[in-house]
Amino acid sequence: MSVALRTTGLGVRYRRADALRDCSLAVPAGRIAALVGPNGAGKTTLLHVAVGLLTPTSGEVSVPGRVAFMAQDKPLYDTFTVAEMLAFGRRLNRVWDQEYATARLTGLGIPLDRRTARLSGGQQAQVALTVALARRPDLLVLDEPLANLDPLARHDVMRSLMVEVAEQPLTVLISSHVVADLRDTCDWLIVLGGGRVQVSGDVDDLLAEHLALTGPAELVDTPPAGTRVVEASRTGRQARLLVRGAPVLDPRWSARPVDLEELVMAYLRSPQASALPALAAVRA
C-alpha cells in the first residue's frame, strides 16, 4: 500500500514553545484521514507543514503526489467573482480541470458571475473546495472545513466530498476539533494532543483493539493482563477503564466496545498515552 503523506520526527518550534514535537505518521493512499485534537494541539501547524506553507524546525515531510490545500476559514478573494476564482486556479496551476470545476459549481447551483463575498458560507466552502479539487490532487488537505457552517451546510459539504472521493483516487486529510463531524466518513484516525501524535491508525482496527471496562473500584490499579490502560477513573465503588489489548477474560470486569468519540476523548485526557501503532509504519 502506498503512502500519500509521511512525516518523520517532525518538530516545529515557535518563539516561545514547541508547536509540534517528534511527529511521525503516515497516511496510506486512498484513505480519508481525520486529524483530531483540541484547539491549540498543533493541527493547523501540522497541515501547514504538510502543504509546504511552513518549514519544519526538525524532521521531514514527504508527499509523493500533488497536494491541494483548503485553509481554515476557506479564504477566497472577496472582490473576485466565482469565475475569477476559477481563473485564479487555472493560471496558477500546471494541472487544472476547468470543465470539471465549472460543471461542479453549476451542479451545486452556484452562479459563476457572483462575487465570492456575496455567497453564503456553504457556497464559499464549495467554491474553495472546487478550486482545490480542480487541481486534481493526489492528496487533499482540509483545515477545519466544517467550522462556521450551519448543520445543513456541514452535511452538504461532507456529502459532496464523499462523492468526489468515490469518483477519483484521492487521499483526504481533514482536521477538526469536533469528532462527531468525521465519525461517519473517515477510515483513518490521527489524534494530536499537545503537539504530539497520540494515535494514528485505521479506525476499524482501533475500535476493535480498544475496550471500555467496568469493574470493582479496588481493581482500578490492577488492570487485566494483556491490556494497556489508556484512561482510568473511579466513580464511587466502580472503576472505569479504557484499555487497549486482548479480550478480557477476568469475570470481575465487564467489557463493551468503545465508540470513536470515547476513544479520542480517552487519549486526549491522558496525554501520556499513545497508540502509535507501529501499525502506521507496518502498513505503509
Binding site: L54, A71, Q72, D73, R94, V95, R135
Partner: protein
C-alpha cells in the same frame, strides 16, 4: 501571474492612471491658456527680462501659482499614497484575509508570485513617476519659472526623483505589510516613514556635494535665484570668516512686522566698513548630480525594503 497581479491591483493601477491623466489635463489646460495669454498680451520682444515684460511675467507667475498650489504637496502626498495603496496591501491584505494560504499553496512558487508582483508593480510605479516628471517638465517652461533646483518641492517632481520616490514608497509599504501583517497599521507606518524620509533627505541634501563659496561685497543675495543656499557668514576686513555676526560694528535694530528696512541699513553699513559676505551654496548646474544622488539613495533603500519583504515572505512563517 500577470493576470492575477492585474486583477488584484487594477483598482490602484486605474486610480493612479486616472489621477495622472487628470493632472495632465490640468497642466495642459493651464499651459494652453498661458500660451494664448502670451500670444495676446505680450509686448514685442517678450517674454524676456526687459522692464516691458515685467507685467507679463507677473501675470504668468499668478497663473503658475494658481496651478502649483493644487499639487504643491505632491512630493510628500504622492509617495505616501503610493506606499499606502500600492505597497501596504500587497502582502498586508493577504495576511489579513488569510488568502496568502490560498495563493502560496498553488503550483506557482511563492518566490515567483512575489517576484512577478514586485517587478510588475514596481515597474508601473516607476513609470508613473517618470510620467509625472515629464508632464511637470513640459509644463513649467511655459511660465518661465526657473526653480527646478532651488525649490525642493519642484526638484522632487522633475527628473528621476518622482520615480525613485514612488518606488521607494512602494517597497516601503510592501515591507511594512509583511512586518505588521495588517493593511491599516502598515499604511500608517508608510505615512510616518515617508514624512521622516522627506525631512531627512531635505536636511542631508546639502551634503550631496561640497558647496561652492562666493564672497559678496555689496549684497547678501545670490544673483542666481535657483541656487541652494547652504550657509553664510560675514567676513571681516582682514579676510577672516566670522562664526557670528560681529557686534558693535553697526547698529542692528530688529525689523518690525514684515519690513526689512533695518536689516538693509545694517548690511549697507557693514559693507561700508569693509566687511564682506560669504555664501556657501550649490549652483543649479548641479541639478542632475543631486537628482542621481537622491535617486541612488532611494533606490538602495527600495532594494533593502524589497529584500526584507522577500526574506520575511520566503521564510514561511504562516
Amino acid at each position: 501571474m500577470i493576470w492575477l497581479t492585474w486583477r488584484q491591483h487594477r483598482a490602484q493601477i486605474l486610480a493612479t492612471a486616472v489621477l495622472l491623466t487628470a493632472l495632465g489635463l490640468l497642466l495642459l489646460g493651464s499651459a494652453v491658456e498661458a500660451k494664448l495669454y502670451i500670444a495676446e498680451h505680450a509686448p514685442p520682444g517678450c517674454p524676456g527680462s526687459a522692464p516691458a515684460c515685467w507685467d507679463l511675467a507677473r501675470a504668468l507667475a499668478d497663473r503658475y501659482d494658481a496651478v502649483y498650489t493644487v499639487f504643491g504637496w505632491m512630493p510628500i502626498v504622492a509617495p505616501a499614497l503610493i506606499g499606502a495603496f500600492w505597497g501596504a496591501p500587497l502582502l498586508g491584505r493577504e495576511y489579513e484575509r488569510g488568502t496568502h494560504k490560498l495563493a502560496w499553496t498553488q503550483s506557482v512558487s511563492v518566490r515567483r508570485w512575489l517576484a512577478v508582483k514586485l517587478a510588475v508593480l514596481g515597474a508601473l510605479v516607476a513609470a508613473a513617476g517618470l510620467t509625472l516628471a515629464a508632464m511637470v517638465s513640459l509644463w513649467r517652461p511655459v511660465f518661465h519659472q526657473e526653480d527646478f533646483f532651488g525649490n525642493p518641492g519642484v526638484f522632487n517632481m522633475v527628473g528621476v526623483a518622482p520615480a525613485a520616490w514612488w518606488l521607494y514608497a512602494f517597497m516601503l509599504g510592501t515591507a511594512a505589510g509583511t512586518l505588521l501583517r495588517r493593511t491599516l497599521p502598515a499604511m500608517a507606518l508608510v505615512v510616518a516613514v515617508i514624512t521622516l524620509t522627506t525631512l531627512t533627505l531635505y536636511k542631508s541634501s546639502d551634503h550631496y556635494a561640497e558647496p561652492e563659496r562666493i564672497v559678496l561685497s555689496d549684497t547678501t543675495v545670490l544673483s542666481d535665484a535657483d541656487s541652494r543656499r547652504v550657509s553664510d557668514a560675514w567676513v571681516d576686513p582682514a579676510g577672516r570668516e566670522l562664526a557670528a555676526p560681529p557686534s558693535g560694528v553697526c547698529p542692528h535694530p530688529p525689523d518690525v512686522g514684515r519690513g526689512d528696512r533695518n536689516q538693509r541699513a545694517y548690511e549697507r553699513c557693514m559693507f561700508g566698513k569693509g566687511y564682506r559676505f560669504a555664501v556657501y551654496f550649490h549652483p543649479p548646474s548641479r541639478f542632475w548630480r543631486f537628482q542621481w544622488t537622491e535617486a541612488a539613495l532611494l533606490t538602495a533603500a527600495s532594494v533593502a525594503f524589497a529584500g526584507l519583504a522577500v526574506r520575511r515572505t520566503l521564510r514561511r512563517g504562516v
